[in-house]
């Protein structure tokens, strides 16, 4: 069976080393172009355009494979080569191990790319929370006001099109999108205040060009609120609203908000203390660290998170990401929260590949010396 597969013409083609060389050249160009592009357009756009894409237009007109496509082809190429071309014998063990390690890198890239999420948690000293927020993904959420345990219904807001309908059936209303702007500014006009419903009194939205740094975008949208037994009404949700917008349906009150996507953590984190030290007589930070308390239903423990020294709990890892110190000295610490089931995979892949390389080149050196003694 295996021999049959091996002898297939398509396998010979797929496993060609020339493919690998061309893919690597394409990757080389992508990495270089993606670096230069960053200087002008920022990291996020460079990633979207060169690395996360399958195909894009180089210089605006030349179709070029994105890194995702190139890496898929390389993966297929390497897998095919592993089936048909590799010689599994002791003299080639180094090469086999190297390529095994590289296959592991592909798997870890796949797992990380599709199955991990990043968010952040900003806490004041003494504050505790079990909800972390996304950096630049937004959601529209609604819940009934004044019920004990909040049950929140949320829609992903990043790709809303005009005329899309968001149904909140359990709450008895729905929203139809009139306009949605990924980045915007909002204004209020005193005479039109009551025409549109909004918690901050906003009546006009203005679209803004999307910022290179996606964190800086503040989206907004104009919606039509439809309820049974009452006339439809315009409603504005702005990413910068301080409070949720109130809606009344029948005898019940609801709250509606456009906000950064929330993730509920299976435990709470409390910031006990934040400390920063500087190099003597300079403004240059030497270290930051946060003392936090991880509160699970069963037990709680205190941990120090500092630069290069994260907290790991279940699949979650917390990193010291940022901080701020207010005018009155109140300290706020921002922790990056990452959930990645594949986080040890690149570690293993690194070690495997490295050992393979060391072994292979040592053996080559030994053979070279043995063959022609200088």
């Amino acid at each position: 069976m295996l021999d049959k597969i091996k002898s297939l013409r398509i396998m010979r083609t797929l496993s060609s080393v020339k493919w690998a060389v061309f893919c690597l050249l394409a990757l080389f160009i992508l990495v270089f172009a993606g670096t230069v592009y960053q200087a002008e357009y920022g990291l996020y756009l460079a990633q979207e355009r060169f690395f996360n894409s399958f195909v894009f237009l180089l210089f605006g007109f030349l179709p070029f494979p994105g890194a995702q496509l190139v890496l898929w082809i390389l993966f297929v190429n390497l897998t095919a080569a592993a089936i048909t071309r590799f010689q599994y014998k002791w003299s080639k063990i180094g090469l086999t191990v190297i390529h095994g390690g590289i296959l592991l890198f592909f798997i870890s890239a796949f797992v990380t790319f599709y199955y991990s999420f990043e968010s952040n948690l900003t806490l004041n000293e003494g504050e505790s929370s079990n909800v972390s927020a996304a950096y630049h993904n937004w959601e529209i959420s609604a819940w009934e006001k004044a019920t004990g345990k909040k049950s929140v219904i949320a829609y992903d807001a990043d790709h809303l099109n005009s005329n899309a309908v968001l149904r909140f059936d359990d709450l008895g209303f729905s929203l139809t999108v009139k306009n949605y702007y990924p980045n915007s500014a909002a204004f209020s006009e005193s005479d039109k205040k009551d025409a549109v419903r909004n918690s901050s009194g906003i009546s006009i939205l203005e679209e803004r060009p999307v910022d290179h740094d996606p964190v800086k975008n503040i989206p907004s949208g104009k919606f039509v609120l439809t309820q049974a037994n009452s006339p439809s009404q315009d409603i504005i949700l702005f990413g910068g609203d301080m409070l949720p917008t109130q809606i009344t349906a029948g005898a019940k009150h609801y709250e509606l908000v456009l906000r950064r996507k929330r993730f509920e953590l299976p435990f709470a984190v409390k910031l006990v203390d934040f400390r920063m030290t500087k190099h003597p007589n300079t403004e240059m930070a030497k270290s930051f660290e946060s003392t936090v308390e991880v509160q699970t239903p069963l037990a709680s423990r205190e941990v120090i998170i500092s630069m290069n020294n994260p907290l790991r709990h279940n699949d979650f890892t917390f990193y010291q990401a940022s901080y701020s110190i207010g005018r009155n000295g109140e300290e706020t610490s921002t922790l990056a929260v990452v959930k990645n089931k594949g986080r040890v995979l690149p570690y293993i892949a690194t070690i495997v590949t490295f050992l393979g390389l060391v072994f292979h080149f040592s053996v080559s050196l030994y053979r070279m010396r043995a063959k022609d003694p200088a």
Binding site: K18, V21, V31, T35, K278, Y319
Partner: protein
């Protein structure tokens, strides 16, 4: 014959060391103890000798002034400021700035304070408007204005920093009564701020009683006392926040160091600090009165007192070591020896005498010894791996490349290692020298880098990868030149090619491991293994390039000459990853990119491309392929 070579080499060493010791003897005034005094600057405790070098380098682009060491110049600025007004130490690269300040442009581009003084107000306004502009988008001229302004401000600060120890007309006392009241020597007319401050308690009661009296009823003596005390107040207000933080605070002697003026303002109540300030005044007097013994002794007493208070501070223990590091100039020695090694090799290549090849190897080893010593000293002084700034990485990569050259020579035993080691040593140390002109090459690190473990394994690994790839590239040059010069000597060509492959393999292994270690470090501190950030991408490019060469070779897309050419291009990629990326982050659209480094990089790449095209073409013809 070999004996003769060794004798020659030893003669060169002797001459060189003599010249160094001779230059150390320069300057009649004994400054050793003064240079040994500790100072806290830019977050690091260092000897004043180091500080003087950095300040002078920052001012003038050189570490000596009129062939005298920086320390001698700094002593003059601090203790006899008026004598330095005509020293041409301020480097202004742009003639237009000199014109704007009303000074005629000098051919050496260095100006004295007396020349620039008239335009100081103008400069202040220019600097204020340059300061409004974001650092990234400042032009070369704007940066130069800011630099000049900061230098002048620092100079002025330095000239005032010891004024408390100099008699001044503001503290002249004509009334014998007041002098007696202060218990000061009656023979003296003018006093120093410090002398009055030390005795001011004696006239305090009189001063306090003045508030109750109408000023018209004050006696002559009372008026005198009032004048002196109000001058004291004004001086203490005026001379705040000056440079030269040489006095560790009593409360926090590790973090908080004070300039003499600030120490008097804040901690004069402490007996120890009072004593130290008195030593500084003795130091000033010793210098001004040209009494070397008084000067030296005061510096020693001051240092002893500070050292006694800071014996638990790590960096205080390495002050003397840093001094000897400064004096020895290890890398200068290495550089000279690498040049000699290179010249000996060229002579060997021309006339083929084996002795010259041996001499070349000897010089390589001789350069390598101080190079290693210098690196070890830096590691001990800073307590961290020597790879945290571009300057340091160049020194380190040079060291690694020479080491590889020596190993290749031991293995190959022909000549290849000599040329690889000497070329890499000479060129990389030249570039390192360019980067050292920023000032302090021993800077403090930002928080994320402040981890000795990761810094110690990731950065050295990746820079060793740079070195191995550079070595492979140099061997690539050697291969092409060899193919042109001796195309029929296939055995030699083959040997060079194999060494090239091994270096490339080492380069791939180290670059790969270093890059992935960087990923692991990033995962440890930021939570992501890979983020396509410019520095990561640069390192990845080297790895991809090495992989491409090895696979293209297997797929018969590159022959031996092709591999050599591709390895040469590998150096271009290393240069890009190493510092090209840093230029990019300054911003392609700012003038930063036209600075010397970028121009050098572009020139280098152009030269390399020309060599590649012409060399490969010619070599193909000679090899008949």
């Amino acid at each position: 014959m070999k004996k003769n070579i060794i004798a020659c080499v030893l003669t060169v060493v002797a001459v060189l060391s003599f010249s160094v010791f001779a230059s150390a003897e320069e300057g009649k005034f004994p400054l050793q103890q003064f240079g040994r005094m500790a100072i806290l600057e830019s977050g690091r405790i260092k000897p004043i000798d180091t500080y003087a070098r950095h300040v002078l380098l920052q001012f003038s682009g050189k570490t000596t002034y009129e062939r005298k060491p920086a320390l001698a110049w700094l002593a003059r600025v601090i203790f006899t400021p008026t004598q330095t007004r005509d020293d041409k130490v301020f480097l202004i690269n742009n003639a237009e700035i000199a014109h704007a300040l009303g000074v005629t442009a000098e051919s050496k581009r260095r100006y004295s304070f007396a020349q620039l003084e008239k335009g100081f107000h103008q400069l202040e306004m220019l600097a204020a408007s340059a300061n409004q502009i974001e650092p990234k988008s400042r032009s070369v001229v704007e940066n130069e204005i800011l630099r000049t302004f900061e230098n002048l401000v620092l100079y002025l600060g330095l000239t005032d920093s010891f004024s408390f120890a100099v008699p001044h007309v503001d503290f002249s006392i004509s009334s014998g009564n007041v002098v007696r009241m202060l218990q000061l020597p009656e023979t003296q007319k003018e006093f120093t701020f410090l002398e009055i401050a030390l005795h001011s308690d004696l006239i305090r009661p009189v001063a306090d009683s003045l508030t109750a009296k109408n000023s018209s009823d004050w006696t002559e003596d009372e008026r005198e006392i009032f004048r002196i005390l109000s001058n004291m107040y004004q001086w203490s207000q005026y001379f705040r926040h000056l440079p030269l933080m040489v006095i560790p605070s009593e409360g926090n002697h590790e973090q908080n160091w004070l300039s003499p003026w600030d120490a008097m303002a804040q901690e004069f109540h402490s007996e120890k600090i009072k004593k130290e300030i008195i030593f500084l005044a003795e130091l000033t007097r010793g210098y001004q009165d040209k009494q070397p013994i008084v000067f030296d002794l005061a510096a020693k007493k001051f240092s002893d007192s500070v050292r006694q208070r800071t014996s638990d501070v790590r960096s205080m223990r390495y002050i003397d070591l840093e001094l000897s590091y400064n004096r020895a100039g290890y890398f200068v020695f290495s550089h000279i020896f690498y040049w000699l090694s290179f010249l000996a090799f060229i002579a060997f290549a021309v006339n083929g005498k084996l002795n010259l090849r041996f001499a070349s190897f000897m010089f390589l080893i001789l350069g390598f010894i101080p190079h290693t010593a210098g690196l070890i000293f830096r590691i001990i002084i800073l307590g961290r791996p020597p790879v945290t700034s571009l300057y340091e990485t160049f020194v380190f990569v040079a060291w690694m490349s020479v080491l590889l050259g020596i190993i290749i020579e031991k293995v190959n035993r022909k000549w290849l290692g000599n040329i690889v080691g000497s070329i890499a040593g000479v060129l990389l140390l030249i570039i390192a020298g360019k980067f050292s002109s920023d000032g302090d090459t021993m800077k403090m690190l930002v928080a994320v880098l402040n981890s000795n473990f990761w810094l110690g394994i990731h950065v050295p690994t990746i820079t060793m990868g740079y070195a191995a790839c550079c070595v492979a590239g140099i061997i690539g040059h050697a291969y092409i030149i060899q193919a042109i010069a001796h195309p029929q000597d296939t055995a030699q060509l083959r040997a060079t090619y194999k060494t090239l492959l091994m270096s490339l393999g080492l380069g791939l292994t180290l670059s790969f491991f270093g890059t992935m270690l960087g990923g692991i470090w990033a995962d440890q501190s930021w939570g992501r293994f890979w983020g396509w950030d410019p520095k990561e991408n640069g390192a990845l490019l080297i790895v991809i390039w090495c992989i491409i060469i090895f696979h293209a070779r297997i797929a018969n897309m590159l022959d031996e000459l092709g591999v050599a050419a591709a390895s040469i291009f590998g150096i271009v990629i290393v240069a890009w990853a190493w510092f090209g990326v840093n230029l990019l982050s300054v911003g392609l659209h700012s003038y930063g990119f036209t600075s010397g480094v970028a121009a050098g990089l572009i020139g280098y790449v152009a030269a390399q491309v020309v060599f590649l095209i012409a060399g490969v073409f010619w070599a193909r013809k000679r090899l008949k392929i």
